[in-house]
């Protein structure tokens, strides 16, 4: 264990990390977001979903530093007297969950199909890449909206509310797999002609096994970078869908839902209900994106 830790601190990756203050700041911000979301039930000052603890007389309290604010509610309260800070922490949980799951789904789908296309070539490759081309012509948010709309139309309302979270994950994942497929296909085309693959083929290793245990480990490097950059996009896509009112169900509000709800009170001057979830969303996405950028540059030997 300690040898592994030592190796990590001696690595190029750690060296380039310590050389980039922006990366360190974004790592800290990302860590705060993730820990805050993960431990929301433990550290959040209130439980926004506990109806018994809600008090309507506490509704529309401005942030604590405002003269009308209450110290109890650091970032103010919304129209139902829910603590905005706690709602953000619980909302970030949903946003992160959807973002991570959608990215994992897109990675799984894209890597498998990209590997198949690259290794098998021929008609499989032609068909899969054609689908990629067509799908990449359309912005992914549009694809996600359509998938979500179709599933919504296909299922009865009650059934839809129950699985809405999975529908969103599926819709975002489906809209983003081509990037992974293309990346993996590109590296697979290079790897499949290398000697170790030929050697494996000569001694009669089955095709599937060559793909999974020989080629796959060697094409995963770039996937990590694409996945990190994609995480920010997936979180934004979820927020956009929820903002449009077709994302996660209102019983499990994500940051996008909170922004949409707060948007109704913008004109009456209660800006904090929508602005603070917005700031949290930006902080989360920006820090993840900056980390992704850094990872891309740090893993690229040409830039060293």
């Amino acid at each position: 264990m300690s040898a592994a830790v030592q190796r990590f601190f001696g690595s190029d990756l750690w060296w380039s990390f310590t050389r980039s203050p922006i990366t360190m700041v974004s790592a800290i911000v990302a860590a705060i977001c993730i820990l805050g979301a993960l431990f929301a039930p433990v550290i959040a000052p209130h439980n926004p979903f506990d109806l018994a603890s809600l008090n309507l007389s506490d509704a529309f309290k401005p942030p604590a530093w405002h003269e009308d604010g209450a110290r109890e509610y650091a970032l103010g309260t919304d129209d139902q007297g829910r603590d905005v800070l706690s709602a953000i922490m619980y909302g970030a949980r949903v946003s992160l969950l959807v973002g991570l799951s959608a990215t994992a789904f897109a990675t799984l789908l894209g890597v498998s199909l990209g590997l198949l296309a690259g290794y098998l070539g021929g008609a499989v490759d032609g068909l899969l890449m054609r689908i990629c081309d067509v799908q990449l012509t359309f912005p992914s948010i549009l694809v996600a909206l359509l998938v979500d709309g179709v599933v919504r139309a296909a299922l009865p309302r009650e059934a839809h509310d129950q699985i809405a979270l999975f529908v969103v994950i599926f819709a975002i994942g489906i809209s983003e797999w081509p990037k992974f497929a293309r990346t993996v296909r590109g590296s697979t085309l290079v790897e499949r002609n290398k000697e170790y693959v030929q050697a494996a083929r000569v001694i009669g290793v089955p095709r599937l096994r060559i793909m999974v245990s020989h080629v796959l480990p060697n094409v995963l490097g770039p996937v990590l970078v694409v996945a990190t950059l994609n995480l920010g996009l997936a979180i934004l896509a979820e927020a956009t869908l929820s903002f449009l009112g077709v994302g996660v169900p209102p019983t499990q509000p994500s940051l996008g839902t909170l922004i949409r709800i707060g948007n109704d009170f913008l004109f009456s001057g209660e800006w904090w209900i929508t602005i603070f979830p917005g700031v949290a969303l930006i902080a989360m996405v920006l820090s993840v994106n900056l980390l992704g950028d850094w990872l891309r540059d740090a893993l690229n030997p040409k830039l060293r």
Binding site: V134, L145, V150, L244, V246
Partner: protein
């Protein structure tokens, strides 16, 4: 040239047919249009009559062929939600979206290209650094938050600009325009900035990167050695050669502008096609959704075609030695 155009159009047909198939499958298999249109009380005979009228008793390929021929003539049936012809609904809303998209694209180009040229030429000036930081924010901010922030400052706090709707419009034939009234122009400003900001930053970064690349080339050095004025070198030689990738991205981004118009129109309650679409998604209004899908596909395919043709106009190398196809 002619063969190239024909080839491109032939490539576009399968894409359109695939999209039509998806649209049609949505029509045919998602939800039960008969149940939706009949409502609560109906007799068996009424039901059968409606099924016959809608042609739902025909085999799949016959129905699909019907759908394609109707779609080609702009007929998409009735909206489930509003019980009006879809074609009518869309043509009513189209001018609002197109005017918004046009303004956003124009804004992105007119501001983005000069900013990109400037940051490419004067890499280390403080203004360039400011532009680059600003563009990072533009890329990371989601569209709807930009809209909300603009509303908060310019509509709620300062009260300068309206926060929703199109203002007064003037009817020119079937086209309703907001350009001709003061309130229409004022209503256009915030949505256009919201929609164009991301594209603006993208174009700026792209032009900057391309300029840095081109300025290193030998012909720029040669042009300088010939003693040409800076202006001729920068704009006549350098900028012109950055245009091929810029045209590609701008063309493809036009599609993104139309897609993100959905978000912008929701924030500003802008009565365009995007708002119609999102209301239809919420209400599972399949005819409107599939018509919108077909329309967007048509727009994307046409844009791709135009982009390919523009390559020919901009890059003389493509005109020589390439008989047909490819780009």
């Amino acid at each position: 040239m002619f063969a190239f155009v024909i080839n491109r159009i032939l490539q576009a047909i399968p894409v359109m047919l695939t999209v039509a198939l998806i649209s049609f499958a949505m029509f045919a298999y998602v939800g039960d249009p008969v149940a939706i249109m009949l409502g609560q009380d109906f007799t068996e005979a009424q039901r059968d009559a409606l099924v016959r009228d809608l042609g739902l008793d025909q085999p799949f390929w016959v129905q699909f062929w019907e759908f394609v021929t109707n779609a080609a003539q702009g007929q998409f049936g009735l909206s489930y939600r509003l019980s009006r012809p879809v074609a009518e609904l869309i043509s009513e809303r189209a001018p609002a979206t197109l005017e918004l998209a046009f303004c956003a694209a124009a804004l992105a180009l007119v501001v983005g290209v000069p900013m990109g040229v400037y940051t490419g030429l004067y890499r280390h000036s403080w203004l360039s650094r400011f532009f680059l930081t600003f563009s990072l924010i533009g890329v990371s901010l989601p569209t709807f938050l930009i809209g909300i922030l603009l509303i908060l400052f310019f509509a709620v706090q300062l009260g300068w600009l309206p926060s929703f709707g199109r203002g007064d419009t003037v009817q020119l034939g079937w086209w309703s325009t907001g350009f001709l009234t003061w309130s229409g122009v004022k209503a256009l400003i915030l949505p256009a900035i919201t929609l164009g900001l991301f594209q603006l930053t993208l174009i700026m970064r792209l032009v900057r990167a391309e300029m840095l690349e081109v300025l290193r080339t030998d012909y720029i050095k040669f042009a300088r050695a010939r003693g040409l004025p800076n202006r001729a070198v920068h704009f006549g030689h350098a900028l012109k050669n950055t245009m091929v990738p810029v045209i590609t991205i701008v063309g493809l981004q036009l599609g993104a502008i139309i897609a993100f118009a959905i978000v912008t129109e929701t924030v500003f309650q802008w009565p365009g096609m995007g708002l119609l679409f999102i209301q239809s998604v919420g209400a599972a209004d399949i005819p409107v959704m599939s018509a919108y899908l077909m329309l967007i596909a048509l727009v994307f395919v046409s844009i791709n075609l135009i982009v390919d043709l523009l390559y020919y106009a901009v890059d003389p190398r493509l005109r020589i030695g390439r008989g047909q196809g490819g780009h």
